[in-house]
């Protein structure tokens, strides 16, 4: 990794038989920042995330995650990156400790290390009091927090969070967003946060990127984008206004 960029993509492209999901995408995420990854449904955000982890092969272009090419060394990338998929699933008849135990196993942690780590992450996401309840009985907010716990288990340097607050009640969403912010601040984990909740994104993101139809139409800090699109002089720009402006232009 050079010049403090944890993610760099160079004309990353993914074509599906009927359409181009990602079209010559070039952007970067800097170390230690929360990058708000915005865009309408079907803009190619998830496809981009999958390509960054080597789970999908790009049709053209390339990407580097911590200087590693995910196409060639997917396993190395995946040990640095924690991914929380949209609508993350769990084995319904396991409890939280068992779920986390399986993830620890897959990451090759030994038993003792895993046990300590599981207790630690359950505390971090405040699920310790529910650790022996079956995941099937969890509320959506608890599931989402357990998903974060699974991501944290492998001590990631970078987190990909795909719609983490989707379907959460306002309080749960706020709690989750605060958790993400504190993880970024205290543990120096860089975050790529894809979300439709623009106010939440605005609250915690250092920079944002707006992706529409497979292209990154804007990338930068909210202030910079606001100045560019809405003109100088405003005290605080609303991300929503900026987003709508870009959206109408395309």
């Amino acid at each position: 990794m050079k010049n403090g960029k944890v993610i760099e993509t160079f004309d990353l492209t993914k074509n599906y038989p009927n359409q181009a999901a990602v079209n010559k995408l070039s952007f970067n995420v800097k170390e230690g920042e929360i990058f708000g990854f915005l865009g309408p449904n079907g803009a190619g955000k998830t496809t981009t995330l999958l390509m960054l982890m080597g789970l999908t092969q790009p049709s053209a272009g390339s990407a580097k995650v911590y200087g590693i090419d995910p196409v060639r060394k997917a396993r190395e990338v995946k040990s640095l990156v924690g991914y929380l998929p949209e609508n993350v699933g769990f084995y319904q008849d396991m409890d939280a400790v068992q779920s986390l135990g399986y993830i620890a196993d897959l990451n090759g942690m030994d038993r003792k290390e895993a046990r300590d780590k599981i207790i630690e992450v359950l505390n971090t996401v405040e699920l310790s009091s529910h650790q022996h309840k079956k995941v099937g009985a969890y509320s959506r907010g608890m599931k989402q927090r357990l998903g974060i716990a699974e991501v944290l288990l492998k001590d990631p340097k970078l987190m990909f969070l795909d719609e983490p607050t989707l379907g959460l009640d306002p309080e749960g969403a706020l709690k989750l967003i605060d958790l993400v912010q504190s993880l970024n601040r205290d543990r120096k984990i860089s975050v790529l946060l894809s979300s439709h909740h623009l106010q939440q994104v605005q609250k915690i993101s250092h920079r944002v990127g707006i992706m529409i139809r497979g292209k990154m139409v804007a990338e930068g800090s909210i202030d910079a984008l606001g100045k560019e699109k809405l003109g100088v002089g405003e005290e605080e720009y609303s991300l929503e206004e900026i987003y709508m402006k870009y959206f109408k232009e395309v």
Binding site: T46, L50, M53, L55, T56, R75, E76, K78, S79, V81, Y83, P85, N87, V88, G89, F90, Y91, Q92, Y102, I103, D105, L106, N107, G108, E150, K154
Partner: protein
């Protein structure tokens, strides 16, 4: 390797703690227990006051006591074990959204399918070995005969063949679970193929053979026609894993069976020797007789798994 062993351990514990497995195992254990018990009683009665035949112990497995023998039972219902263990292996995880989570961990993607297949094969092996051991114990009590070295060897080979046979169906149902997104569809497809290959191929074989090589000539040509008809019938039935397995296992379990060919197809000398020499075959010769069947069965299993492997590794996983 750590990926495979993690998936393997998880799947194995899933298998053994699932109701599905418990029900299946109870059913199979019960049926095979009853089957061999009936066979044992039957054998005991017919051997009353006579010198014990040479391979009395093996007869426990291939004597038709009540409805069918143990060997026939595994041939019929073994596939169901494989199907039940594998039909939702991949598509359930896909539907639950757990598959993407697993493959985003630092493991090779093939670890998932390898671990699942190996866990299934282990479950099958444990099931078969324990059933054969239970029946053997039953035989010791009922018949009072102790198996010799050769009988143990034959049982061992029988178990190996059976494991491959059932693993073929496991591999096939895993393949369907990769192809079909819906669990019901993959289960139905596997069961349909099982019924087709096991029952309809042998039925269809006679129909097809009668159509292609009908036996309606008279005189010396009639023999020729019959031979052709039967050859064709046998060839077609080789497409059924069940007939492969039945032929192979029956010959391994029964030392008196010397060929898998129909009597009609034998030449005069062969018939003569078959009639004249009534001694059992040594184990090595029995294996030699069914060697091609065993090889095809193993090849089928491996090909089936290889296809699942390729499809899974090349497929895009989004959920």
């Amino acid at each position: 390797m750590k990926g495979i062993s993690a998936v393997y351990r998880k799947e194995l514990s899933d298998h053994f703690s699932s109701y599905r497995f418990v029900i299946l195992f109870a059913l199979i254990a019960m049926v095979s227990f009853i089957t061999s018990y009936m066979a044992g009683i039957h054998l005991k009665e017919s051997m009353e006051g006579m010198a014990k035949p040479k391979f009395a112990f093996l007869m426990l497995f291939n004597t038709t006591g009540a409805l069918f023998s143990m060997v026939q039972f595994v041939a019929f219902f073994g596939p169901l074990i494989g199907i039940v263990l594998g039909f939702d292996a991949i598509n359930r995880e896909r539907g639950d959204g757990t598959l993407i989570k697993i493959v985003s961990q630092p493991i090779y993607r093939d670890s998932v399918i390898n671990g699942k297949f190996l866990a299934g094969v282990t479950t099958i092996s444990i099931m078969l070995v324990s059933i054969v051991l239970v029946i053997s114990g039953l035989g010791l009590i009922l018949l009072g005969v102790v198996p010799g070295v050769e009988e143990v060897g034959r049982l061992f080979i029988y178990i190996i063949i059976s494991i491959f046979y059932i693993s073929f169906w496991l591999g096939l149902s895993i393949l369907f679970s990769i192809f079909f997104r819906s669990i019901a569809t993959s289960a139905l497809a596997a069961v349909a193929l099982w019924i087709f290959l096991s029952f309809f191929v042998s039925l269809g074989a006679s129909v097809l053979a009668d159509m292609v090589a009908p036996v309606n000539a008279q005189g010396s040509e009639r023999t020729e026609a019959t031979v052709r008809n039967i050859r064709l019938k046998q060839f077609i039935s080789l497409f059924s894993p069940m007939s492969l397995y039945t032929n192979a296992s029956a010959t391994i379990i029964d030392p008196m069976r010397k060929t898998t060919e129909a009597l009609v197809l034998m030449g005069p000398m062969e018939k003569l020797s078959a009639g004249r020499f009534q001694n059992p075959l040594p184990i090595g010769q029995s294996i030699l007789v069914v060697y091609p069947y065993i090889v095809i069965l193993i090849a089928l299993t491996l090909v089936c798994f290889a296809i699942s492997y390729l499809v899974f590794v090349l497929q895009e996983i989004r959920t």
